[in-house]
Symmetry: C2
């Protein structure tokens, strides 16, 4: 019986998981596609490296052509990561009319357009469910089941490391640096945690989600990014007082045909569905004009959750091949919408400063906000230590540009000792 041939580029954690899962549920997969699936070749950089027992060493190769030009291979699965060789190989595979399944968010967020145009030219499928939120089915529902809707907003907790850190800070009142060290110890954060804690990992994922949700290309460069390194236990204390938690979110929305995409911490009211997503869990919240709000939650990383999404894609492509309909999904970015910069966005803000503890200070600050069209919703003022007070202001929804102007002026005031933090607040949905 004819089979569906699979070639892997890479055999690290995810690659090993893919091989494991293909073996584990072999019969179910064959029932799904109608043909057995077989891993023909695996490209590795080191033939001698120790590997899990399930890896058949006789199909390892260091020659990319044994995958890319292999006539027995129908689907090339890119799980090597990075944007250099990975991009080169994927483009070569596409030109060889291979269907592609990739877990590579960096590649999709950077080169999605180029890859999709090559896939279309070569009449093959390009699938990337695993590139966002690990095993959670989100790209496929957004592309297909929810295609009936005009999507207004996508907001997600799409980085497990930062969610672990913020959850721990919230629950234990501990400081960022302590919790980061613990996350590194537990293997939730890498030795160089920059991509996670500075929000760059989440930025790639929200670029991908925004492109699908709004049918227009959004790349990493279009995403405004702020990480969580400035969040202090004091911010979290005040968030609690306001019945909020603090989460790092990727957020994309369309307003009057204009699209914005950003990653930053937000104060989320505790009743918001995302506020309850803790530890290393990921979740993506979607607002559509018909469906209302839906949320998809699960594990956003790890060998088997990620393999679940990769193999899920392999199965779809496999069925497309058997039904002779590949490619079924084309690039959905058929529009060109304006992407607005952060200065043009509107938000509520939480602003925490240390000010002189004496009469008239609040009036002075409030005056400058008013001069810049920034309305204040509420204020908490507390004595901090002798002569100093904590001043926390929550604004109405104001334009980023105006807020920044006001903040610049306020920073210059004599009784303002420090502008401690500025965090966006997610308004009631």
């Amino acid at each position: 019986m004819a089979h569906i041939g699979i070639g892997l580029l890479g055999c690290g954690t995810v690659g090993t998981g893919v091989v494991r899962l293909l073996q584990q549920n072999k019969q179910k997969h064959e029932n799904f596609t109608g043909r057995p699936l077989r891993v023909e070749k695996i490209l590795v950089s080191n033939m001698d490296k120790e590997r899990a027992e399930i890896i058949d060493r006789t199909i390892l190769t260091t020659d990319p052509d044994e995958v890319l030009k292999n006539p027995d291979i129908d689907i090339v699965v890119e799980v090597m990561g990075g944007t250099g060789l990975a991009k080169e190989y994927v483009l070569r595979a596409l030109n060889e009319k291979k269907n592609i399944v990739t877990a590579n968010k960096d590649l999709m967020a950077m080169a999605g357009e180029e890859l999709f145009s090559s896939a279309a030219k070569n009449d093959v499928d390009l699938m990337f469910e695993a590139s966002v939120a690990g095993g959670i089915p989100i790209i496929s529902p957004l592309k297909n089941a929810l295609a009936s809707n005009k999507i207004n907003k996508v907001m997600g907790i799409i980085n497990g490391t930062t969610n672990f850190i913020l959850t721990k800070m919230y629950k234990d009142g501990s400081d960022f640096s302590e919790v980061l060290a613990l996350a590194q110890e537990k293997g939730y954060a890498e030795t160089d945690p920059t991509a996670d804690i500075e929000g760059l990992d989440a930025a790639r994922k929200i670029a991908i989600l925004a492109s699908i949700a709004f049918n227009t290309r959004v790349t990493l460069d279009d995403v405004y990014v702020e990480g969580i390194t400035k969040i202090s236990s004091r911010d979290i204390e005040y968030a609690k007082e306001l019945n909020c938690t603090i989460k790092l979110v990727g957020l994309a929305q369309e307003t009057n045909g204009q699209v914005e995409a950003r990653v930053h911490p937000v104060l989320l009211p505790l009743y918001h569905p995302l506020a309850k997503v803790d530890d290393v869990y990921n979740a993506v919240y979607v607002e559509g004009d018909a469906v209302g709000d839906v949320m998809f939650q699960g594990l956003g990383a790890g060998e088997m959750p990620t393999a679940s999404a990769v193999v899920g894609d392999i199965l779809q492509v496999g069925k497309n091949i058997v039904k002779n309909v590949s490619p079924r999904d084309n690039c959905s970015c058929y529009q060109k919408k304006e992407i607005i910069g952060i200065e043009d966005t509107f938000d509520k803000y939480f602003i925490r400063m240390t000010v002189a503890d004496r009469p008239g200070v609040l009036a002075q600050i409030a005056g400058l906000f008013g001069d810049n069209d920034v309305s204040i919703d509420s204020v908490i003022q507390k004595k901090y230590c002798e002569g100093k007070a904590d001043l926390v202001l929550i604004t109405e929804k104001v334009q980023d540009r105006n807020l920044k102007k006001a903040i610049e002026q306020i920073k210059g005031l004599e009784p303002v000792y420090a502008l401690e933090n500025l965090i966006r607040v997610e308004k009631e949905s």
Copy 2:
């Protein structure tokens, strides 16, 4: 340009929503399928009834053949409900080689096998995303994206009415009958609320989900059903004391190749993702061998959420037609697994009784549990009024059959005044 022709059977709330959504996002839908979609005919029972303005009265008909035999119609959308005429029409439409989209859980839970076999024979698609959990994409992810997994368990809050009632009881401490009246007043519960509060609506949905998850046919008759009418504010008080909430769930799981499906209230620990799903929200929690646990949450009913799912299905079928691949999805029940009855299932139980407040009673009761292989995990005993005590026992995981035997014997004990309630407890996941 050729279009995709749609015929509606029924024009109630959901039918009207479907027409509305097809108009609202017309261009997006055309971009998705590659061809414009057009509603050709709508079967109604009353031509003179007042209808929303968006309904074009010139395409209404009372003659089913104008839909079923209409050569301009590619997709028949069944939104009339019921299992009599609806089934007859759907079968006739299938025999006319029409693709079917239905929102009808009763029909799918009762006649899924017959409909699917006719769809296969006639080479057309049969889609039913809207039949479970309204707008939440759950059937398609379970069938496709998660097909890489062996699914172990599906558990869902899949009835909004009962979730509204239990949430209100939990938050306000009110009694079932008061809250039911409120739900009826708000339009969340029907004048005859039986199907909701007795769990029958949820039973149909879990039969559908179980069939997909385990690739074996599960019908309504296979589902054990208990409703929420016996849940009292006192049960909820004790649930709180145990850091739990009470939810009505549909639950299906496979253990050693045997499948069980049931609907009943459970005590859910507050940290469980489903415990946080409140009011009229629905959510489905899925455990797979690779993905771990994922959850899908959103609005389970209503005109536009349901239309979102129906039109989502129309779009998939439309794309299949354009790509000439209809049917893409076949029936996924290709196995025949044993379905076990409730007496063979294992669970933890919460048992609340009113007993005589004197020494030795607990020992007597515990003895009978022990005689029947029912181990006790924990006990709460509280004076209730003069001479009477509340006795709450939490068992270990025990077989239903053994528990029932023990309970029968305990009921006969002189100091046991009343066996107030027996509720399953969802163990830690």
